[in-house]
Symmetry: C2
Subunit: 379 residues, 2 copies
């Protein structure tokens, strides 16, 4: 397919009366590089929280959307859905936050708030479609300013978000390392919670892939009191996995290792985002176990029905998590001092960081790049 297929070009006009100028790092047009640009954001309305950006984590998804890999990117595109900021202004209905609070925003800045999924705290599965923090449609009258433009993410100096989608950062969590919890942390925590790992019963939890998501998954599952099996094709990652908290280590390309670990996992979280054969991992599940697919693997799987029946195994998928669950994982991380492995950079190095993420082997040893926004503005 033509790499530009599906890309949509929008125009940022002079700020209207209900908008203000903001500085961002974005891609002005399809095919261009990331560069500092001016954008407009809606001024604070009754339920809004405006905050200055302190840090923003760089997620693999940022590259895919920024480069139009999903063929539905609106330009100018300002990525970033791991936002860490400090409140500078609140609307008159805002009760949860005050000026000076440290807050976070994750992948969601809007949802209908009325459907069964939203009411259940699963805004990410809103029946009317959630609004992504960037490249989202400004729906539900939750995002101010020019409604024809997409939402703009955290690669910027500030943001304005409806209070429902803003989260308090617990005391003691280092601000430069908390940002990736809003995406990588909740992506691993929500399936743990949904499939019973927060109910006190000890489980054996497999984590496939020892990258940014995988290491967070190992730490969270361990903090929740479980045995953790790290599952990877990289035999040399055993030390790293055990250092993060894994009690079992399985090399999926080694038949002896697969045999030794067969049938042990009550739950497997699979972070592989490239095409793969899911059947490779089914044998690691215990009877009644569930494997949860978390990565954007495009090729379909071939799945036999009889083993599912005879062992009551489930194949499921999961996408980030809701606001309440994100607040829970922030608390859990603060309590257990669980921090993503981060490397702080300035915005001038975003291109370089994306190259690392897109290159052979992905992000080395699960390090998450985090943009220091204040330092970037001084650059």
């Amino acid at each position: 397919m033509d790499p530009s297929a599906g890309a949509i070009q929008k125009e940022i006009k002079e700020p209207r009366e209900d908008e203000y100028r903001d500085i961002a790092w974005g891609i002005p047009k399809f095919g261009e590089k990331i560069t500092p640009i001016y954008i407009n954001r809606g001024t604070v309305r009754d339920d809004d929280v405006r905050f200055e950006m302190l840090y923003n984590g760089i997620c693999h998804t940022d590259c895919h959307i920024g480069l139009n890999h999903m063929h539905r990117t609106m330009y100018p595109c300002v990525p970033g859905h791991e936002l860490l900021g400090r409140v500078v202004e609140v609307g008159k209905n805002v009760t949860k936050f005050k000026v000076g609070d440290n807050i976070g925003v994750g992948c969601i800045v809007g949802s209908c708030l009325e459907c069964s999924q939203c009411k259940n705290g699963d805004e990410q599965y809103c029946m009317k479609g959630m609004v992504g923090t960037y490249n989202g449609d400004r729906k539900f009258n939750l995002i101010g300013g020019d409604q024809d433009l997409p939402t703009f993410g955290g690669y910027s100096a500030s943001n304005v978000v409806h209070q429902h989608f803003v989260m308090k950062i617990p005391e003691g969590l280092p601000l430069d390392k908390a940002a990736p919890i809003m995406c990588a942390g909740i992506t691993m925590y929500d399936p743990l919670k949904h499939w019973g790992a927060c109910e006190g019963k000890k489980m054996t939890i497999g984590i496939i892939g020892i990258g940014g998501l995988g290491t967070m998954g190992i730490k969270l599952a361990k903090a929740l009191g479980h045995d953790v099996m790290a599952i990877t094709t990289s035999a040399h990652k055993e030390g790293l996995a055990k250092e993060k908290g894994a009690t079992h280590f399985c090399v999926s390309t080694d038949p002896a290792s697969m045999q030794a670990n067969a049938g042990l996992c009550d739950l497997i979280l699979n972070t592989i985002s490239a095409n793969h054969d899911i059947n490779t991992y089914m044998s690691l599940l215990a009877k009644s176990g569930t494997i949860v697919q978390l990565g954007l693997a495009p090729a379909p799987h071939t799945v036999s029905q009889l083993p599912l029946m005879f062992t009551r195994k489930s194949i499921a998928g999961s996408l980030i998590g809701g606001i309440a669950a994100t607040e829970e994982v922030l608390e859990l991380c603060a309590k257990h001092n669980i921090l993503p492995d981060c490397e702080t950079i300035t915005a001038s190095k975003i291109d370089w960081a994306w190259e690392q993420l897109l290159g052979e082997g992905g992000n080395k040893d699960g390090v998450r790049y985090v943009i220091d926004i204040k330092a970037s503005l001084e650059d």
Copy 2:
């Protein structure tokens, strides 16, 4: 494949001191017809319950095993795993039953009773493998008599089963209709229970296939307080489905019907046992919904990962159910007067009944054939 491949011929000898002669209807050798035969059963040991057989339901699986369709049938083969009887003798450790009690036995007559699955009441998923009521290996020292022979099922005048695998038949349940609850009933009830339909929250539950399993599923889901969607390729079954309790009716080959019912089901129980495309039904699931495969469909499914992720849908399988859950569904059926639609026959008509089940269209309108054992012995 050669139809006889995998068939194993065993020899029934003269009864030993710890065995007694029993009359059964079985297939003496691969390729032969069902005929009255003599078998031996172990005499009562400390934990055993011996009972005279009153009724035995005929399950589709009986034909498949009897005819060696799974290529692992041991002959002589005496099928039957929907047993309804009356206790005539109990061992000295038996506390749960006394002579004269009406009892049932389902698909399971043995399991290790020690693994996590057994301890959780899921004997059907025993980590060491459950013992089927017929064509099973006599493992775990739970079945008396010649250990080299397979277990013999309910097409017979009596049986001897360890008390753990015997169930009380609640007062008021008609004995001639209770037998199929032990297989068809529990097959539908256990996934309802496992996936949250016994927790008081109202759901919309889809049932694919309006045969013997399907009609039981409709009745059970309705009794549990849910909205029920009958899903079928047979538009003419709408009246039948609604009579059984369905509130929604979906014709899966009709795009307008599929569109009208899209996204409604929190849980779908799929009883189709022939090959089919599971993706046909995924659109009927609500977000966070689960489809449970219950049929012996041999061809693998092609499943895309992205829709699973973006809607947190699960694909699972389920096989019958454990002893405690079977007792629960018997109670539920007694309380709500839920009865399988049965047609009583004598053993001389078993061949005819199998032909109906194996013929085009399967068992008409979900009728379950039940052998009246007493009448058969007098034939």
